[in-house]
């Protein structure tokens, strides 16, 4: 049997379809449990992780599934996040489906491994339970951690609620194994990770059908040995058979093109998911009451769920407002977003992170997307919720109301246009 065929035979899910405690149907779970059940249903074979608040319960839950014998996977209790990602990389190269989770300093500690994983084009799925970056220490939520890894070459998907977490984890494996890229499933620490919500746990048998076995692009084969990721020159180089092979730059081009190509794949897989499981996650982003809106709020994660309330409040006040909640942050759906934002007059982005010295990262990307399409809407950058600072719907509503009025009265000053507006900052 060839190595690849052997891989196909060996690499099929052989776990129980669902965890005993989570049969298909409604359950009330935390975001962390939702992620763990998602990994279970996806038939992960190797889990390597290191504890960090508020991620720890994800791996504790998986460790329990594994020790109870429900999930025939290897749990590697590593000594650091650097090693957690290292183990995931090794196992993924060997052909196993792997899962890990981390956040904040743990994610930063993995940094070089994140690049190694994506540069090796490995379909690793990792939950990032968004938490503020130290210093100073904070265990509470914002999104500075994953945003700081924006350029690590991973797909980054944000989840609005606990249902989206389980669905996104399952979809993430399909996407990752299709485009050979790692996927970071981002969800807000505490707000989702430690809050119970009702979710629908899918039927594991259907997940097995949705997720065919993982076939590595470069299998380890003693009869056909290759050296993976050696020193690679700037320029293309001939192999021993005289075929011109990529230089470093061609590899990066391919990596980048696969990320761009995943825009389409993320949408297609979401549609397929809906056909099977009856739920769509909106593909690249979802819209709420944007059709007739002149003002649009854009944000990512649990905040966008809260913002639907804000929209409803403001609609009652006759503000023509809508919401775009971003699901795919990388790849960035620039073209589709500019279509969605085409006739909008005012765009209010809310970032739970900062590109220090400029503005919120989502805002920056929105501005450049609009510029590409020649849309000259006014964009205002809001920064909110850093280090767990409370965000109240009425505060956002007040700000949106206020700036919409200012916009109409042409009172938006340079201070507002060129700087970020900090919500609920008492300085």
């Amino acid at each position: 049997m060839t190595v690849l065929n052997q891989q196909r035979v060996n690499n099929t899910h052989n776990h129980l379809s669902n965890p005993k405690t989570y049969p298909p149907g409604q359950h009330v779970v935390t975001g962390n449990q939702s992620a763990a059940i998602g990994a279970f249903l996806s038939g992960v074979q190797v889990v390597a992780a290191y504890p960090i608040t508020p991620q720890s319960p994800v791996v504790e839950e998986l460790a329990k599934f594994i020790e109870e014998g429900e999930l025939p996977a290897e749990f590697v209790p590593v000594e650091s996040e650097h090693s957690a990602m290292g183990v995931c990389i090794g196992a993924s190269i060997a052909g196993a489906r792997v899962f890990t989770a981390t956040c904040a300093n743990g994610l930063a500690y993995m940094c070089e491994q994140l690049h190694w994983a994506s540069g090796s084009r490995l379909p690793i799925v990792m939950a990032c339970v968004n938490r503020a970056m130290a210093a100073p220490w904070s265990v509470l939520n914002d999104q500075q951690d994953s945003m700081s890894q924006r350029d690590a070459g991973w797909i980054q998907l944000f989840c609005k609620d606990n249902q989206e977490i389980i669905d996104t984890v399952i979809q993430a494996y399909r996407i990752a194994e299709k485009v050979y890229l790692p996927v970071m499933v981002c969800y807000d620490g505490y707000i989702l990770s430690h809050t119970v919500m009702p979710i629908e746990v899918p039927d594991g048998n259907k997940v097995k059908k949705f997720l065919p076995p993982y076939i590595p692009h470069t299998p380890i084969d003693i009869s056909k040995p290759v050296n993976i990721n050696p020193v690679t020159l700037a320029d293309p180089r001939l192999n021993a058979d005289g075929v011109l092979c990529h230089g470093y730059m061609e590899h990066k081009y391919l990596h980048h093109q696969s990320l761009r190509n995943s825009l389409k794949i993320i949408e297609e897989i979401d549609i397929e998911y809906k056909d099977i499981f009856g739920r769509s996650l909106g593909g690249l982003f979802s819209e709420y009451k944007t059709d007739d809106a002149d003002v649009v709020i854009i944000c990512a994660g649990s905040l966008s769920k809260m913002c639907t309330l804000v929209i409803d409040m403001l609609r009652e006040q006759n503000v023509p407002i809508g919401l775009v909640s971003l699901r795919a942050y990388r790849p960035f759906p620039n073209q589709k977003l500019s279509v969605a934002l085409k006739n909008k007059k005012l765009i209010l982005t809310i970032d739970k992170s900062l590109s220090y010295g400029y503005q919120g990262p989502i805002c920056i990307d929105i501005k450049s997307s609009l510029f590409e399409s020649g849309i000259s809407s006014t964009v205002i950058s809001f920064v909110a919720g850093l280090g767990g600072r409370d965000i109240k719907p009425y505060e956002i509503a007040e700000k949106a109301y206020d700036y919409w009025n200012k916009f109409n009265k042409k009172e938006l000053t340079n201070e507002i246009i060129y700087e970020s507006q900090w919500i609920n900052c008492k300085y």
Binding site: I93, G95, P225
Partner: protein, 301 residues
């Protein structure tokens, strides 16, 4: 003990590779892969071995090889083991092979973690006693007194760590030291290690003409001198039982160590040592040698 003539002729390292002329690493690698009969997947961090392995798209090695980030060798090996196990391909030995920098210094956390978990791979630290790949900077393995590019004038002022003891303290099933000048000793140790379950650590002394500053023709002789003077001691610790092996065992059984100066004066990197440091070093080597002899309860065998 296997003799040179019993060593298999099969080669898994190809000529025309990128190592310096006379590099001890090529000798070491040949025997490691022979002992594993090529049925392995290697993982290697940034180091001279990466260079020997070759630049894309050509490889100088005929076994599967996975490069790793510099600190991540042991984690990568752990992952390969876990992944191969999940795929029921446990017939493939995972060989992690890192330099002294990738072992003693930046790699020690991951290696220690893997050893505590008794991860099922063979870790070979090939020790050329400095960061050669980046231009001969000092490492935690560089001997005291050695001039490197980061200890350029007075030489290194700290003694190296004892990595063998550090690994032994992890209670792993197999720890051994060896030297490329005794390829059958290396071969036998890798062969034995191959069939042991858990983390096996082999420390391989690799003379480096470029960093140690001697004529490339002397690589094997320098390695021999290292052992004959007691600068390097060949031993193995199998399930806690310590044994001197090969040349070191013969020296302990009625032989006599040569004066350390014979080893030091053959290399320019030690040129800085004054007589008092030499005396100190000689004293240290004798003390350690006597400790090894006392530790080996099998010597009368």
């Amino acid at each position: 003990m296997t003799s040179i003539l019993e060593i298999p002729a099969d080669e898994y390292m190809l000529p025309g590779n990128r190592s310096c002329a006379g590099c001890g690493l090529g000798i070491g690698l040949r025997y490691i892969l022979k002992a594993l009969e090529g049925k392995c997947v290697m993982t290697v961090p940034a180091c001279c071995l990466t260079v020997l392995g070759g630049m894309y798209p050509i490889s100088s090695i005929t076994v599967p090889w996975v490069n790793s980030v510099f600190p991540g060798t042991a984690a990568m090996a752990t992952g390969l083991v876990a992944g191969l196990k999940a795929l029921k391909r446990e017939d493939i030995t995972v060989l992690a092979m890192a330099g002294d920098g990738g072992t003693y210094d930046i790699g020690i956390q991951g290696l220690s973690g893997a050893a505590e978990r008794n991860a099922n791979f063979l870790f070979v630290c090939y020790d050329n006693e400095a960061y050669m790949n980046t231009g001969t900077q000092r490492s935690g393995a560089t001997p005291k007194g050695v001039k490197t590019t980061t200890t350029p004038i007075i030489g290194k002022i700290h003694s190296p760590k004892d990595m063998g003891q550090i690994m032994d303290a992890h209670n792993i099933p197999y720890v051994a030291t060896t030297c490329i000048s005794y390829p059958t000793d290396l071969y036998d140790k890798v062969k034995k290690a191959k069939d042991i379950y858990g983390l096996r650590y082999i420390h391989l002394c690799v003379p480096c003409p470029s960093g140690w500053q001697y004529d490339p023709k002397d690589t094997v002789t320098i390695g021999q001198l290292a052992v004959e003077t007691g600068a390097i001691v060949l031993y193995e610790i199998e399930n806690g039982i310590f044994r001197l092996t090969g040349r070191s065992r013969r020296l302990a059984n009625g032989g006599k160590l040569k004066p350390i100066t014979e080893y030091l004066s053959a290399q320019k990197r030690f040129a800085n040592l004054d007589t008092s440091s030499l005396d100190e070093l000689q004293e240290y080597i004798h003390k350690r040698w006597n400790e090894f002899i006392t530790k080996d309860k099998t010597l009368t065998e």
